[in-house]
């Protein structure tokens, strides 16, 4: 392995730093680097292991050669030992694991009855952790070591073992889904663990954002509630990669104060960071050489220089493409292990373990991976990390770049920009990547659907006292929902408590990865019934979906709101890079039947969208443009679809869509702009400007909220929700925020009766009636906090959007910034004008 050269060696292997410099000096390399920076080496900050740790642990650590702790480890351990909840936020491979392993082992050594529960977002990660634990426990005295029972408990655990784990497991490693559907609903079987639960470890905290995080917050509410029943008060230790608000996210998930430890004491050698622009393939069209081809050349060169490299691709198919390129260039010698490996979801666990071990030992010289290797799987530090395209979030970017980095030798990170708008933006604004604090993790534990379903599960687990609050949901909301369930016959209210009285198993109906219960299941009718993965599994198990008749394989699902756009009859549905033709969408049964095809076009549905504000939670605020946050209903009607040819994007056909209008009831942030602020904009360009601004805001919001672009929707209203029909809300009940009430004529018939709040129109309450408005809404029913996050950081959002619009090199707008302009208009200028009006 290329390490530091031995002092005094005459014929020495060049150091990693020297080899990186050699590569940098080549003309073809230097021509492509548009920006580079060097992150200076950081020395280790060491301190002694906390005195309070059990003496046997001190001995084991010395045995492992770990005489001293990094400062962050010591801080986190001290806090955990003192019973404080801790969140440990440090880079990849900085020894976070010891931060939670040591307190857990300490508790066990002092009280062999004490238990710990470790949560990891995926099964694969959970299994990895036991190996790390064993590494340390091996150094404990043999008679101790043999008493420790640590095991993973997940869907793969054999039935025979489950009982033993329930009864005797000291450390139970599992995932939130299993905790939710396997452990909590059967908590009496886990009484021994829950009674003596001393620590709960939540690793990869940053994975719990948006909907998944909102679910986890409720699962934790249930866990803590059950723990209270058994009389245990576990200390929680969270670990997270770098995100903007780790402390806030942890406090939101745990609903209690958390001690944040975020200064890494781990050493880090010098790191070089290159921003790589693929050369123009055709000057006039502005098309650049493919990022994958650039990665192929660069990684081949890194391999030749014997620098152990990881390449991150954005899709599974590009992993395979790049992998086959590299294997052609670097075939394995006869009898040699394959030096270049792929790593992505879909590989078998054993294969993955072998690749991970190969990376650690150095026998694997290069690996091409998806973000599957981004999460905390231990592969040690590599010499170089090549990002083929922007991974979508700053947090992921740093996580992936962090895979390269050793304690004692220089390392290299390369970001190869693709053609996508954000990639090009980052290439022009490297400071954004280098200086902006990473995105924030946002959750909304009180999303009504999420809260409601977990409340059912909680009522099943333990009767609710009258007046009890479910976590911080509040006793009012908790009580109201329970009354709702009582009216439905799900719970029975006695004088003092709500008892579960239905013969259903509520946890089974909840999938932690989605909100609404009714989704459209997508079924591949061509698949071999004996093939792998048939039948409803994972998130689809218990969804009621599944096989139509005797065959068909569930390949995915989509929410009811998006279904008319994605899987209407005759649509081309793209899934994992494969094309599927939708034979039939059975709207009643909520099933779409598809079969794989290979055609040269895709379909694009056109929709007519309306949005109604139902209730305002906050705002309006702002001196001129006034922004608010609240509940809205988005109605979308898919009208026609177009067939669009790949590459040329020409229209090759179209057809109508006959499906009912879909309503999405969710939360949104909206901003109304006074007409006088837009005087600079020609009235004809208003809609173009608003649309362009909404696109730029959308891109910026996805960055800010660390979410998938599909998790947020936009809507523009050139004339605002004004007109004669607007009844400015005067609030209802006591002290509730004012509500904008939709005009009665526009009200769809089915909602007309009995649910529109009765309000007295208050004259002059809403000055922004009739102003042009922009909306950003959560695409999850009920919202998961993205809109609220945007509302809070609206200033930053507008600044980023302006940079995106202003920084583009196109003439009047392109898909990379504000969208292609209608003929004869300058969309970019119009959007910038609108955004400036927002910024005022």
């Amino acid at each position: 392995m290329a390490g530091l050269p031995a002092p005094g060696a005459t014929l020495r292997h060049p150091s990693t730093g020297e080899r990186i410099a050699e590569l940098r000096a080549r003309p073809w390399v230097s021509g492509r680097i548009v920006h580079e920076t060097t992150i200076p080496a950081r020395p280790a900050q060491l301190c002694p292991w906390p005195e309070r740790l059990h003496p046997e642990l001190h001995q084991a650590l010395r045995g492992r050669g770990l005489d001293r702790a990094y400062s962050h480890q010591a801080l986190a351990i001290e806090a955990a030992l003192a019973g404080e909840d801790v969140t440990l936020v440090t880079p990849t491979a900085s020894g976070k694991t010891l931060g939670f392993v040591l307190p857990v082992l300490d508790a066990w050594l002092r009280d062999p009855d004490s238990r710990a529960l470790w949560l990891f977002p995926t099964k694969a990660l959970a299994q990895d952790q036991l190996a790390g634990l064993r590494d340390l426990t091996e150094r404990l005295p043999a008679e101790r070591r043999e008493l420790l029972r640590a095991a993973t408990f997940d869907g793969d655990t054999p039935t025979g073992l489950r009982r033993a784990i329930r009864e005797d497991g000291h450390i139970v490693v599992t995932n939130p889904d299993m905790l939710h559907a396997g452990i909590l609903p059967n908590h009496t079987g886990w009484a021994r663990l829950l009674r003596s639960l001393r620590y709960v470890v939540i690793d990869e905290l940053h994975a719990y954002r948006g909907l998944f995080g909102s679910h986890l917050a409720n699962v934790l509410r249930r866990l803590f509630r059950i723990c209270r029943f058994y009389g245990s008060t576990p200390t929680v230790i969270c670990c997270s990669a770098t995100i903007g608000n780790p402390g806030e996210l942890a406090e939101r998930l745990l609903e209690r104060p958390v001690r944040l430890v975020d200064r890494s004491g781990a050493p880090q050698a010098e790191r070089h960071l290159w921003f790589w622009a693929p050369p123009l393939a055709s000057g006039t069209m502005g098309i650049r050489r493919s990022a994958v081809l650039e990665a192929r050349r660069l990684m081949a060169e890194l391999l030749r220089l014997d620098l152990q490299t990881i390449g991150f691709c954005q899709s599974r198919s590009s992993v395979e493409v790049l992998l086959s390129y590299l294997r052609q260039l670097h075939p394995s010698g006869p009898g040699e292990a394959e030096p270049v490996r792929g790593y992505r979801g879909g590989y078998l666990p054993l294969e993955r373990r072998a690749i991970e071990a190969g990376l650690r030992s150095g026998s694997v010289r290069a690996v091409v991976a998806t973000n599957a290797l981004e999460l905390g799987i231990d592969i040690g530090g590599l010499d170089a990390s090549v990002l083929v395209g922007y991974p979508g979030t700053l947090a992921s970017t740093w996580q992936q770049l962090g895979r390269a980095g050793r304690r004692d030798a220089a390392s290299l990170g390369v970001f190869i920009a693709s053609d996508a708008p954000l990639d090009q933006f980052l290439l022009r604004h490297p400071e954004y990547l280098l200086e902006t604090p990473p995105e924030r993790g946002l959750v909304d534990p009180d999303n009504l659907l999420v809260l409601g379903s977990h409340l059912q599960a909680a009522a099943f687990e333990l009767a609710f006292e009258v007046g009890e609050s479910f976590g911080r949901a509040g006793d009012g909301l908790t009580g109201s929902l329970l009354e709702c369930f009582a009216a439905d016959g799900l719970v029975h209210r006695t004088a003092s408590r709500y008892h579960w009285s239905a013969d259903a198993f509520p946890a089974e109906a909840i999938s932690l990865r989605r909100a609404a219960a009714s989704n459209v299941v997508i079924i591949d009718t061509s698949s071999d019934p004996a093939g792998p993965g048939q039948g409803p599994q994972g998130p689809w198990a218990g969804s009621g979906g599944g096989r139509p008749g005797s065959h068909g394989r569930v390949i995915g699902e989509t929410d009811q709101f998006s279904a008319p756009v994605l899987v209407h009859d005759d649509a081309i549905y793209l899934h994992e890079g494969r094309q599927y033709h939708v034979e039939r969408l059975d709207w009643e049964e909520k099933r779409a039947y598809v079969h794989p095809v290979s055609v040269d076009h895709y379909t694009l549905a056109e929709t007519r969208q309306t949005l109604r504000v139902l209730e305002r939670f906050a705002g309006p605020v702002g001196a001129r443009a006034r922004r608010s946050h609240g509940e809205v209903r988005v109605s979308r009607l898919a009208t026609v679809y177009k067939k669009v040819r790949f590459l040329t994007h020409e229209n090759v056909g179209s057809g109508p869509i006959h499906l009912p209008e879909q309503d999405l009831h969710t939360t949104a942030v909206w901003v109304a702009i006074p007409p006088e602020a837009l005087t600079a904009l020609p009235p004809a360009d208003l809609l173009t400007g608003l649309t362009g601004a909404s696109r730029a805001l959308h891109a910026a919001a996805c960055l800010l909220c660390m979410c998938d672009p599909r998790d947020l929707g936009t809507h523009v209203e050139p004339r605002g929700q004004s007109g004669p029909g607007l009844h400015p809300g005067g609030g209802r009940g006591s002290g509730s925020p004012s509500a904008l009430v939709p005009p009665p004529p526009a009200e769809p018939q089915e909602f007309a009766a009995g649910w529109r709040p009765e309000v007295e129109p208050v004259p002059g309450a809403s000055a922004e009636a009739g102003w042009p408005a922009l909306y950003l809404y959560d695409a999850t029913p009920g919202g998961v906090g993205f809109a609220e996050g945007c509302f809070e950081s609206f200033g930053d959002l507008v600044t980023s959007a302006l940079e995106l619009a202003a920084g583009c090199s196109c003439a009047a707008g392109c898909p990379s910034c504000v969208g292609p302009p209608p003929a004869g208009t300058d969309a970019r200028a119009a959007a910038a004008a609108v955004l400036r009006a927002l910024a005022d």
Binding site: S469, D475, C484, T666
Partner: protein, 452 residues
């Protein structure tokens, strides 16, 4: 409930209708309610105690209990059981006791039978709303049934059950290992009581032996199935267990006593049936087989008895199963051969092997065992006779393989080689011995070949 009553509390007020509207607008929660939700009850209703009184329940401290005595005589007679099962019979003939179990002898005063009716089927939230405990009194059973008229009375009910079971060392159930007992124990934990209180030291779950003995004839081994097929008892107007939760919810909602009547009777019948079934199955295990005898019964019984350590009784049943030539006789023979092999009792194995081979000369495993045993005993003529027959079978098979162009797998080739070597060896030995008699063993006429 009027919305105004829901207001208050710190979480802000939310009207029920508004909440429902918002939930529905978001797509709604999963539909967990079963069809036939409780109908709205006209007020005023009788108190639960008074309604339960109509079913014979009386208030006892905080619980409602119904005590009846049922004569099992007619049921036992119909089922063909000689009498009620004694505790001693149960532990001797049906169950293998754990090592830590208290030592016998066990008497009538040790035995109790348990059955519960619940809301839901799995998880810690399953509420037992009707619990029946029966204690035998000669050929009668004295049944106590506790009804959870108020969900708050659960702790009192659990205490009463625990008191009733306190002196009993043996608990008899049907499927109680996976259901009744775990449910009660979970409720004990939830109500801060020791789960040990409802679990007597020895738990005899009748499902285990019934499944072992009668799987072949019962299929799904439900209690209902066992009653019909093993006891010849058929219930009239029974309320299926699956209906019980809905009926209890209706009762909670104020429905009259009649909705629960069928459930209470169902529970009572379950208890009686469990006791009668135990008596009949114990008699079956003692050798008085349930009639009509299913072909697999003797074999299964032998396996069961062997598992309990009653080797001689097991052997007798195996011999008898083998003698009957009933359907799993080959299995029974295989079982016997394995036992002979373990003991090295080759002479005893010989007739079994010969019988198997006579039945089916194409059974090469039996032929091989027979040839080896005969050769070891020095009966070269007999061994050669078996070998010739095997060669004929192999030859016919090879012919078919050639016709169908099938390539034989390694196992087949090995077997053919072995027979070839054995044939050659036997012929050499036969030649050394001079003329031999190929008699004594003839394949059964209907399957035989008359070859060689």
């Amino acid at each position: 409930m009027p919305a105004a009553e829901l207001a208050g509390g710190t979480g802000g007020s939310l009207a029920l209708a508004d909440l429902r509207r918002r939930l529905a607008a978001m797509g709604g929660l999963a539909d967990l309610s079963r069809p036939a939700p409780p109908r709205p009850r006209p007020a005023p209703v009788e108190s639960p105690v008074s309604r339960a009184g109509r079913l014979g329940f009386v208030a006892d401290a905080a619980t409602l209990v119904r005590r009846v005595k049922v004569d099992l005589g007619p049921f036992l007679e119909r089922a063909g059981a000689p009498g009620p099962a004694t505790a001693e019979q149960l532990v001797r003939l049906l169950f293998r006791l754990p090592a830590a179990a208290p030592a016998g002898p066990f008497g009538e005063a040790d035995l109790a039978v348990l059955d519960i009716e619940t809301l839901g089927l799995r998880g810690s939230g399953v509420v037992p709303f009707l619990v029946g405990v029966g204690v035998p009194r000669g050929s009668s059973v004295e049944i106590d049934q506790w009804l959870l008229a108020d969900l708050e009375a659960e702790p009192a009910m659990l205490d009463a059950i625990a008191a009733r079971l306190a002196s009993r060392r043996l608990l008899l159930t049907y499927n109680g290992r996976c259901f009744d007992l775990p449910v009660l124990q979970a409720r004990c934990i939830l109500n801060r009581r020791s789960p040990e209180a409802v679990a007597p030291p020895i738990h005899c779950d009748l499902l285990g032996p019934v499944r072992r003995l009668f799987r072949a004839r019962l299929g799904a081994c439900t209690l209902r199935q066992a009653e019909v097929c093993l006891l010849g008892l058929e219930r009239v107007d029974d309320v299926p267990g699956a209906e019980a939760p809905a009926r209890f919810r209706a009762w909670l909602g104020g429905a009259p006593a009649s909705v629960l009547e069928g459930v209470v009777r169902h529970n009572q019948l379950d208890l009686c049936a469990t006791l009668v079934l135990a008596a009949r199955v114990a008699a079956h295990a003692a050798g008085d087989l349930i009639r009509p005898v299913h072909p697999a019964d003797r074999y299964r019984l032998a396996v069961h008895l062997a598992a309990l350590g009653m080797e001689d009784a097991a052997e007798a049943q195996l011999t008898s199963a083998f003698g009957d030539r009933a359907s799993p006789w080959a299995q029974a023979a295989g079982h016997r051969l394995a036992r002979f092999r373990r003991r090295g009792a080759w002479p005893a194995a010989l007739p079994v092997l010969a019988e198997l081979w006579r039945r089916d000369p194409a059974d090469l495993a039996a032929a091989r065992g027979l040839a080896i045993t005969l050769e070891r005993d020095g009966d070269i003529g007999g061994a050669l006779r078996v070998c010739l027959e095997a060669e004929r079978v192999l030859g016919a098979r090879a012919l078919w393989r050639r016709r169908l162009a099938v390539v034989p797998d390694a196992r087949v080739s090995r077997s053919e080689d072995e027979w070839r070597r054995r044939g050659a060896r036997l012929r050499r030995r036969a030649a050394r011995q001079g003329p031999i008699l190929l008699t004594g063993l003839e394949p059964a006429a209907d399957r035989g070949s008359g070859a060689a």
